[in-house]
């Protein structure tokens, strides 16, 4: 069986069209389709699976899939973190063009000068969805001291208050300007890539598909590999990046699925922010409260941002707080109040085909089947890691997942750690729950140290208002 990993999201349409033109029509795979397992028309020797783009190079590198199609940026990200991985680029596909741009706010450039003079600046904060590329960029630039803030998304929201530099994926540099940032250097200008695993190419006959894939209709374009600039200034100025003292309180509220519940919790507390509704938002809503600044960021990124001191409090899920705390147990962030909304259980699920009703039975069965390592897939890699240790899984692999996770079991992992409200999604994907990990609801999280005086009082007042909203 040959295996091909295809992307979800915006690339579905052009990928489906290119495959069809190459005689590899598959269904149901097009804009808007939700199926995660597909088949090729007239071919039962090829299995197709839909992943979030970010997961595709990882799956190909692991050897779970022979081929994959995804944006070049995610391949470069994997190869930046693991330069010796097993992925090779077969060809650029021409569509899905994107750029990786290093950008900064005008006030940062005014303070630090042009990028070429940043080598000696100590304490630079770099934010990106691409932490591996950001790390390589920082090293190549010979930044004297820096921190990489890895975020799930909305990296453009962080400069200038919460980051000095952002590395962003955009379709065009003008997108950077639209965020109020200045593009400084383009690190990558590329399209979607067709990739393959080196081991598969070296040791298996993939000829039945490889010719068709290479024949996919796509314009001939150069691959456009990552181009990191070099530091051109060796003398260090050893200057601090910024003084970041502030007087006001900063609150982070979420976008995405959690927005509706957060809006309701705010309303119950008598808080309405101009620019933050049930379904729509602006990045920096107006709080209408003296000394309170509000920003919209991803809920996954909030615990770290609060720990860093960029925000004093935030509204996020307990799942994301615990995932952060399992990675950084001493992190100065804690749950201040359970808002009791957006409730779901975090559970361990296995395939319905595993003859077991408990995790212990499942482990025994897999061992009997000769499994040497148990693969645990999850959007919460640190919770999964903690779970594996706590439950004595023995030798295990945590496979970080960025979405479309239900279809990982059984082909690509034995266990899935996932949030489930009613269990219907598990059932639809032929999964069954074998362990309950914990219950998650949305909650107010605060920094446990470093907030004093009037800021502390305002934080406490806000938490009290949320509590009163609950009681009401």
């Amino acid at each position: 069986m040959l295996t091909l990993a295809l992307p979800t999201g915006d690339l579905r349409g052009p990928v489906a069209a290119a495959l069809a033109a190459g005689g590899l029509a598959c269904s149901p795979y097009a804009d808007g389709s939700r199926s995660l397992r597909l088949s090729l028309e007239g071919r039962d020797d090829v299995a197709l699976r839909v992943f979030r783009e970010k997961d595709i190079p990882i799956q190909v590198a692991l050897g779970n899939y022979d081929f994959g199609i995804c944006s070049a940026a995610w391949v470069e990200e994997l190869q930046s973190r693991f330069p010796y991985d097993d992925v090779t680029v077969l060809r650029p596909l021409g569509f899905g063009r994107h750029q990786l741009v290093a950008a900064a706010a005008p006030e940062t450039l005014q303070r630090l000068g042009p990028l070429r003079s940043w080598s000696g600046v100590r304490g630079l904060r770099i934010v990106s969805e691409f932490p591996g590329i950001a790390e390589r960029f920082a090293r190549r630039m010979r930044f004297a001291r820096y921190s990489i803030h890895s975020v799930w998304g909305a990296a453009e929201a962080y400069p200038p208050e919460d980051a000095d530099l952002a590395i962003l994926a955009v379709k065009d540099p003008s997108d950077v300007l639209a965020h109020g940032l200045e593009p400084l250097v383009t690190l990558l200008d590329a399209s979607a890539w067709l990739i393959a695993g080196r081991r598969g190419l070296a040791g298996r006959d993939l000829g039945a598909v490889i010719g068709r894939l290479l024949a996919m209709a796509a314009p001939a374009v150069p691959p456009g590999t990552l181009a990191l600039p070099r530091a051109s200034q060796l003398e260090s100025r050893l200057a601090p990046a910024a003084g970041r003292e502030r007087e006001g309180v900063r609150l982070a509220v979420p976008d995405g699925h959690a927005q509706r519940h957060t809006f309701a919790a705010l309303a119950a507390a008598g808080l309405t922010f101009d620019g933050y509704g049930e379904k729509s938002y602006v990045r920096r809503p107006a709080s209408g409260i003296d000394g309170l600044e509000v920003k919209v960021i991803r809920p996954q990124d909030m615990p770290q941002q609060v720990a860093l001191g960029n925000f004093d409090l935030a509204i996020t899920g307990r799942d994301w707080l615990l995932d952060h705390l399992f990675a950084f147990p001493a992190s100065p962030v804690a749950e201040a109040l359970d808002l009791q909304r957006s409730r779901y259980g975090i559970a361990a699920a296995v395939s319905e085909d595993v003859p077991a009703t408990t995790l212990a039975e499942a482990l025994g069965w897999w061992r009997g089947q000769g499994h040497t390592a148990i693969r645990v897939a999850s959007e919460y890699p640190n919770i999964a890691d903690h779970f594996a240790r706590l439950r004595h899984l023995g030798r295990y692999q945590v496979i970080p997942v960025n979405g479309a996770s239900e279809a990982f079991v059984p082909e690509d992992s034995e266990i899935l750690i996932e949030g489930t409200e009613t269990g219907s999604s598990f059932r639809a994907n032929r999964l069954k729950k074998v362990d309950h990990v914990f219950d998650s609801t949305n909650c107010v999280i605060t920094r446990t140290s470093g907030i004093d005086g009037p800021r502390r009082r305002l934080v406490e007042q806000l938490v009290t208002r949320f509590r009163d909203g609950l009681d009401g």
Partner: protein
């Protein structure tokens, strides 16, 4: 059995087995004795350091920086990474800057470093290193060369040749050709890789240089006269070379005066980013490289902000271990002491006898172990038998000796026969 062990051991990780440890400790002892004799003090730095110590320009080269083991610590929510020590010189410079105020300060250490290597190549390496901080040119450099060479000689590695170089020579050439400092490092590495297109690139930028660049890239000098020749050839075209050639000349003549064999090559060391002055390597009689060092006058400033010149060297312990001649066991002959009966009194006597033998330089054990060299002697102790309280048996010859006192036993062991 072997396959199972390979599965359990991390890739690129090596166990040091008893024979390896005997060699390891022998090197460590020779190194410590030599360096203590020159007035150095021993330190040990932590296994985990901040990554930023190694990222500034002029610290770790990009080539090595791409192979460090870095990660976010359990309290690394700030996004600032830590690293498993990938180098010993930079942490030692930090130790100096944080704990020492005197000049000169002379430190040495024996510790491991971690660098990624492909396949089964070792990823954990051990180094013996020494550093001198303060304005010690040229005595510090010469002292380090002498100490390093003598350590290798103490270990029976024969005549050790010193290979000399100076980063300033090629830096001056590349700077004269208009390359920025980071470009200089990249071109330098390409020259070492034998990429002769760099020569053409330099000549393209310096049409007025008529001197043969091969003299720098492919010729190895065996006498200080080689430096005079370089000076004569390049004095006009690359005047920036002169200070480096003068420094190298001083070191070369000092070595010549002590009868130390040496050669001179301008393409000697990779990853030279933090070196600012003369570089030296130690070549063993088989031509292999046992380690080396050099002068790095900017590193302390880059690491900790205080401008203190320094120089140092390190020996690659695995390389030296593999080339050391056969070595004698660390302890004297092995005696297995066994009580004649299971009783508290007999066990107590056996214990005191073992202690007495150990104090006399023997290896005495109550529990026999299978190892090399095999146990030659057994000593049976029986407190109930006065005249034959001690019975010494020579496993090799089969002879026995009954004795009422340990003096007779020790005398027989000293003679090597019952």
């Amino acid at each position: 059995m072997t396959a199972a062990v390979e599965l359990l051991r991390g890739r690129g990780m090596r166990d040091l087995l008893p024979e390896d440890m005997t060699r390891f400790r022998r090197i460590e002892r020779a190194f410590r004795d030599e360096l203590l004799g020159w007035g150095y003090q021993e330190v040990r730095t932590p296994t985990i350091e901040w990554l930023h110590l190694f990222t500034s320009a002029g610290t770790l080269s990009p080539h090595l920086l791409d192979r460090v083991y870095s990660f976010l610590d359990w309290d690394g929510w700030s996004g600032e990474r830590v690293v498993l020590r990938p180098d010993t010189t930079i942490p030692a410079a930090r130790v100096y800057a944080e704990h020492f105020t005197d000049e000169p300060a002379k430190l040495f250490y024996v510790q491991n470093i971690f660098r990624f290597a492909q396949g089964d190549e070792p990823r954990e390496l051990w180094q013996c290193g020494a550093e001198v901080y303060g304005h010690t040119w040229p005595a510090g450099d010469i002292e380090l060369m002498a100490a390093g060479r003598r350590v290798l000689q103490r270990l029976g590695l024969g005549d050790v040749r010193v290979r000399l170089s100076h980063t300033g020579v090629l830096r001056a050439l590349l700077a004269r050709a208009g390359f920025a400092p980071d470009e200089q490092a990249e071109r330098y590495d390409r020259i070492l890789d034998g990429d002769l297109s760099v020569t053409q690139e330099i000549l393209g930028r310096l049409p007025d240089v008529r001197a043969p660049l091969d003299l720098l890239f492919t010729v190895t000098g065996t006498d200080a006269g080689y430096l005079s020749n370089l000076r004569a050839v390049f004095a006009e075209a690359v005047p920036g070379m002169a200070p480096a050639l003068d420094e190298l000349d001083l070191v070369a003549r000092a070595l010549a005066a002590t009868g130390c064999p040496f050669d001179i090559s301008m393409t000697l060391a990779r990853d030279f980013e933090y070196y600012t002055g003369p570089i030296f390597r130690f070549a063993l009689s088989d031509g292999s490289d046992a380690g080396g060092g050099g002068r790095y006058d900017s590193l302390v400033h880059r690491t900790a902000g205080s401008a203190v010149p320094a120089c140092g060297f390190g020996l690659a312990m695995e390389h030296v271990m593999a080339r050391m001649p056969e070595i004698e066991p660390e302890r004297g002959p092995v005696v297995l002491v066994q009580p004649a009966a299971v009783s508290a009194e007999a066990a107590g006597l056996a214990l005191s006898v073992a202690s007495e033998l150990q104090a006399a330089g023997f290896c005495a054990e109550l529990v026999g172990s299978r190892r090399h060299p095999a146990c030659r002697w057994t000593l049976t102790v029986d407190p109930a038998r006065g005249a034959a309280r001690y019975v010494l048996h020579d496993v090799q010859s089969g002879g026995d000796l009954g004795a009422a006192s340990m003096d007779l036993v020790l005398a027989a062991l000293g003679r090597g026969q019952c």
